[in-house]
């Protein structure tokens, strides 16, 4: 008697769900920074004059440069998403690469900016800083805490964008693995791959000696196909990157431009 066991490979992909999840995550990030902005607001109310004085010491040129760098990177990542949607993988990769490069530029700028401050003896707990009045001390403590935390987010964002870059560059291979699909039931039968009406390949009969069966199916999209799974990943990474950008948009005036 011949019976057919069908193993179908079904895929559950919920892009709406992935996007919803990302937005919820962005909310949590915003609230994380809200805590810091609340502290900033309270201390600035308390030490308005000292904040004014301390902010004069920050380098507005480097700050402005970094603002432009981040804004541009937000543009490039948005263009990269559009490019991938229009199926021009190469252009998308170039734009994504530019975004990662700009993120690096931002961090290098930040390094020099912090380095100069530390060189002048202005860092948390330093003798130089502790001699000043309390408002300036808390200003610089907040400056290091907030831009530091933001810098950490830039670093994480860079990592995520790089990971997606690799995914897009490698094309999206999908791999499905079936382990031990009830070997005892398969005894005496043959395994074949069928797509439509055509039979792909067939293996020898499974007898009692077979203990393990593993079937791996790798699926590679054709060159003309839109790379949907990677688009959603890139879109979500882009959303995260815009968040990093927006937080900087608030940090910049609050620290550099209040004098």
């Amino acid at each position: 008697m011949k019976s057919i066991h069908a193993l179908t490979v079904a895929e559950h992909r919920d892009f709406e769900g992935a996007r919803l999840g990302m937005w919820l995550f962005l909310i949590t990030e915003l609230i994380l920074f809200t805590g810091m902005f609340l502290l900033y607001a309270m201390y600035r109310l308390k030490y308005a004059a000292a904040f004014h004085k301390a902010s004069l010491e920050l380098d507005v040129v480097i700050g402005t440069m970094n603002t432009l760098v981040l804004l541009t990177s937000s543009l490039t990542v948005a263009l990269s998403i559009e490019a991938l949607k229009r199926n021009s993988r190469k252009l998308s990769l170039w734009l994504l690469g530019a975004t990662i490069f700009l993120a690096l530029v931002f961090l290098v700028n930040k390094y020099f900016e912090w380095g100069a401050k530390i060189h002048h003896g202005i860092y948390p707990g330093s003798q130089e800083l502790m001699q000043r009045n309390l408002g300036e001390v808390i200003y610089f403590n907040l400056y290091y805490a907030m831009t530091g935390l933001h810098g950490l987010h830039v670093l994480v964002g860079m990592g995520v964008l790089t990971w997606i870059f690799v995914l897009i560059a490698r094309k999206s291979r999908k791999k499905y693995v079936v382990h031990n699909p009830h070997v005892e039931q398969l005894v005496g039968s043959e395994i074949a791959i069928v797509k439509g009406d055509k039979e792909g390949w067939r293996v020898d009969k499974i007898d009692d000696n077979v203990e393990q069966v593993e079937i791996t199916i790798t699926y590679e999209p054709k060159s003309g196909e839109v790379d949907l799974p990677n688009i959603i990943k890139l879109e979500n990474a882009g959303l995260y990157w815009h968040l990093v950008d927006i937080i900087w948009i608030f940090l910049f005036p609050l620290f550099y431009l209040i004098s």
């Binding site: 066991h5 069908a6 193993l7 179908t8 490979v9 079904a10 895929e11 559950h12 992909r13 919920d14 892009f15 709406e16 769900g17 992935a18 919803l20 999840g21 919820l24 995550f25 909310i27 949590t28 990030e29 609230i31 994380l32 920074f33 809200t34 805590g35 810091m36 609340l38 502290l39 309270m42 201390y43 308390k46 030490y47 948390p124 707990g125 502790m130 009045n133 309390l134 408002g135 001390v137 808390i138 403590n141 907040l142 290091y144 805490a145 935390l149 999908k174 499905y176 693995v177 079936v178 382990h179 031990n180 699909p181 009830h182 039931q185 799974p229 959603i232 990943k233 979500n236």
Partner: protein, 544 residues
């Protein structure tokens, strides 16, 4: 993100415990992305922590049995109550119901195959375990366990020589785990409901988890940043709350309670959800006031975010702030009372079966009511000034957190155990454990409230002679309670090996989890359920 799922069209009658994966033994559990296995992982780990922290509690009570230093020094006592609090709050009560029963039953109750992000779900559990391991690691490092209490108040938490930074980092990671669970549940509820499962056909447990998940997402990042700032201050010397650097320690308390008060609703809302499941099942009657119960969860989530200042009545808040927070705190009793009244109305003219889960739920409502009313007393400004930092507060929050959340968690365990394991426990033993727990509980925490009212301060390892009798009574109560807990949990462990096979629907429940097999198959249902009526529908034709 999206998941690959491989379905076998030809269905094999096999439950999730029998499914073979490429991993063997314990790895088939700790690498599994099946929401049911992850739920069991959380259950086993959080109950283990429960017994550990309860044992620490027993030791603290033993120290108080006699006057003077007998069992431990003041220093050890401080570290032990910190560990007791941290474990109970972060490792048991917060993940207790949502991550265990929520993981296991949320997808089943809405007719889904799994949560929206199964791999993220596994990551949550791993973060939970990493956080737990880090918290315990402090014990073996120079500086040992933190001695600050679970609230980590500055400036003491910055100045103390104990190992605060690592413990705080552990709490940060646990918070992250909690956020990811909330995010996963919200997406699951929005995206994966079965056909016909409209919002108003969702079981009330799902509604409670929905409200909880929102609090998890909106409040937890606030404590995340607050804890990070303690680490910054201790490790990098970036003083944000340090007065010598211009900081203000009171701001720490604000930020901490902006999370930690909503967190008590993260702790108790899922418990309310479990009560709303158990009561209709054992009253054989649809729930009274379905929509009001559902929406009251949301309004508790909303108003719960606006009352944090009542933890700070004696911290130097302005009178106006105190009065506003006091008023809002009274207000939050309204949605809570809505739930209790509706549960009571559900019982009216129901055909009540006092099975073990029902017994535990009913006594939990009684205990939680005591916790709630004493909460209102403390919301009253003059009374709060009197009882602040006394055993009265300790008694109060054990009545709410233990009497409310943990009792309900145990009731939920008795209710869902046959579904999760396919085994029925010994009901007589479950009944037997009850008087130990109930009497022990009231003797222990009742005595605490009483001596707190008389002025016994909290967090002292010793007491004055006038409190001695009360402390002896409380310690005896703690033994009864501990015996009750061990009887209850021991009975379940025995049932795992010797329990009789449980039928698919032992209690005659109406929600979807009772319509599938015990234990459920890998993807929960043999065919995707289609929902045609409200969740608590006890018509004869459906129950067979």
């Amino acid at each position: 993100m999206a998941s690959h799922a491989i379905t076998e069209v030809q269905h094999l009658e096999e439950n999730y415990l029998q499914v073979k994966s490429r991993w063997r033994g314990i790895f088939a559990w700790i690498f599994s992305t099946d929401h049911k296995r992850i739920g069991i992982l959380y259950l086993v780990s959080s109950l283990t922590f429960f017994v550990v922290a309860a044992t620490i509690g027993i030791f603290m009570r033993l120290e108080q049995l006699t006057m003077g230093e007998t069992l431990m020094s003041a220093d050890v006592y401080n570290r032990l109550f910190t560990l007791h609090g941290v474990i109970m709050i972060f490792l048991l009560i917060i993940p207790g119901i949502p991550a265990t029963f929520g993981n296991f039953f949320l997808p089943i109750q809405i007719g889904a195959k799994d949560v929206a992000f199964p791999r993220l779900n596994l990551l949550s559990w791993w973060l939970y375990i990493i956080g737990a391991v880090l918290a315990v690691t402090t014990l073996f490092l120079p500086g040992s366990l933190p001695d600050t209490g679970w609230t980590f108040y500055v400036p003491y938490s910055v100045r103390t020589g104990s190992n605060v930074a690592l413990a705080v980092f552990a709490a940060f990671i646990l918070g992250f785990s909690s956020i990811l669970t909330g995010l996963n549940f919200l997406t699951t509820i929005h995206r994966l409901r079965a056909p016909g499962m409209s919002w108003h056909r969702m079981p009330l447990f799902v509604w409670a988890l929905y409200a909880t998940a929102w609090i998890q997402i909106l409040a937890t990042p606030m404590v995340g940043i607050t804890l990070l700032l303690i680490i910054f201050e201790r490790v990098l010397n970036i003083g944000i709350f340090d007065p010598t650097q211009g900081g203000d320690p009171i701001l720490f308390q604000h930020l901490f309670w902006i999370y930690s008060h909503p967190a008590v609703y993260i702790m108790v809302l899922p418990g309310f959800g479990v009560v709303s499941e158990i009561i209709p099942t054992f009253a054989r009657r649809t729930i009274f006031g379905y929509k009001l119960i559902a929406y009251s969860s949301l309004s508790i989530a909303l108003f719960g975010s606006l009352v944090w200042g009542h933890h700070m009545f004696v911290s130097g808040e302005s009178d106006i702030a105190n009065i506003i927070f006091s008023f809002l705190t009274f207000f939050i009793a309204v949605p809570t009372a809505i739930k209790v009244f509706n549960w009571t109305a559900t019982l009216y003219k129901g055909s009540i079966a006092l099975e073990p889960p029902m017994l535990y739920v009913l006594s939990s409502i009684f205990l939680f009511a005591i916790g709630g009313f004493t909460g209102l007393m403390q919301a009253t400004l003059p009374i709060d000034v009197h009882v602040h930092d006394t055993y009265f507060v300790v008694g109060h929050f054990h009545y709410t957190m233990f009497g409310g959340t943990i009792w309900v968690m145990l009731a939920g365990l008795l209710y869902w155990f046959p579904k999760m394991t396919g085994r029925m426990y010994n009901k007589k033993m479950a009944y037997l454990a009850w008087p130990f727990m109930f009497i022990g509980f009231n003797v222990l925490y009742g005595a605490m409230m009483y001596m707190g009212w008389k002025g016994m301060p909290r967090r002292y390892y010793d007491h004055l002679p006038e409190f001695h009798t009360d402390h002896v009574i409380a310690t005896v109560g703690s033994w009864l309670l501990y015996i009750g807990i061990l009887l209850l949990l021991g009975n379940l462990v025995v049932a795992l090996y010797k329990g009789t096979r449980a039928p698919d629907n032992p209690w005659g429940g109406a929600t979807l989890e009772w319509q599938t097999t015990s234990p459920p198959p890998l993807e929960n249902f043999t065919e995707e359920p289609v929902v045609k009526h409200e969740p608590y529908h006890f018509r004869k034709e459906d129950n067979g």
